[in-house]
Subunit: 221 residues, 2 copies
């Protein structure tokens, strides 16, 4: 061994990252943060955790280098440390899907059946948006939509889908998207739209991946 000490130090550091990814609550927080910066209470709200607990998990994430925080007024905003964190989570999901039978089963049983309709790849979609061929529907809650969305997207949170169907042209194809590849919102939306006769498909991946891929977005700053 040329330098076991350095090697071990490096491995210990890498393991810190793994530890950060080893708790479901932290992974959920990372998924929310992939949407964009969020405050602590906001994150506590959507994840159903106590504020103190959320804060502690976020600090672990910060110490592991996955997220950063900045203070703005009396609240603290957390955000992913970089796009490579999104890539890391993608790699994690891909391996899980590929090699954990339980994951494959969950996805197959609960998500895939609704998705016999193949998802639309990002790059193809951009061209069709510019041609005005499709109606892009963002089914996330309004707050997330406001923080950033696809160009020309129509925001219809899932709960309002039935009541706002009239806003969607039945002649044009509908592309729904939400938070990410395993976000069920878009699946649900496509499912319900198809039930009503719309030609609906799901966008492959979600908003964070779209943005990470360098595609144009509309942001409210």
């Amino acid at each position: 061994m040329s330098s076991p000490t350095i090697k071990h130090q490096l491995l210990t550091q890498f393991a810190r990252l793994g530890k950060a990814l080893s708790h479901p609550n932290r992974l959920e927080l990372l998924e929310f943060l992939a949407q964009g910066p969020r405050g602590v209470d906001e994150l506590a709200g959507v994840s159903g955790l106590s504020v103190a607990n959320t804060s502690q998990h976020l600090q672990q994430l910060r110490q592991s280098g996955l997220v950063e925080s900045r203070r703005q007024g009396q609240r603290v905003y957390y955000q992913l440390a970089g796009d490579d964190v999104v890539s890391l989570m993608d790699a994690l999901r891909r391996v899980a899907r590929q090699h954990l039978p339980d994951v494959d089963m969950l996805v197959r049983d609960h998500l895939d059946p609704r998705d016999a309709m193949e998802p639309v790849p990002l790059d193809q979609l951009l061209a069709r948006i510019r041609n005005g061929e499709v109606t892009v529907v963002d089914v996330r809650p309004e707050a997330e939509f406001r923080a950033g969305h696809l160009p020309g997207a129509l925001n219809i949170p899932l709960e309002e889908l039935e009541t706002r169907l009239t806003q969607i042209d039945p002649e044009r194809e509908v592309i729904a998207y939400c938070r990410g590849p395993y976000c069920v919102l878009a699946y649900d939306a496509v499912y319900r739209l198809r039930e009503r006769g719309y030609r609906a498909r799901r966008m492959e991946d979600g908003y964070p991946e779209w943005k990470t891929a360098g595609m144009p977005v509309e942001e409210t700053g």
Copy 2:
């Protein structure tokens, strides 16, 4: 929340993967396994762990889906579950390097100074090997070399480097490689060769990445 149960189940499964990556010894085992299949006692030997401990870590890795095992005779061989596992580890290293100051410091202080010489990218190297322009030196132990190596590579384990210098043509450029991007063996080799006046450079990444990239290899067996 459309289906919190499924979501939570998925996150829990993803967390299993993170847990597998949360201990330095397991990461080290994964790095060795990235070289190719290995027996338990072999892994225990190179990692310095007891056989029982090694076995238990390997079983955790297997349960997390990262590695597979098969019995051959009286010994059990473990191997990575797929190339996506290598990608996952790459993503992990990249994020660590980017966002953990300690890692960047370690790499900068101990590895980078020896590497002012820029590493050779994989794709460029292949062409130069075929032209016969370079001497490719594999500095890993002989056992690992035998399991698989770059086409035409010369195996000179680091300890034997000084005694076998005569086998290297001083006129041709030397490209050294070993186990991976953070393997210190190749750094050491380049450093020592340069001390003696050779034109030596390091291959970017190591044998596992080369093989994963679909490049040609020579395998025994």
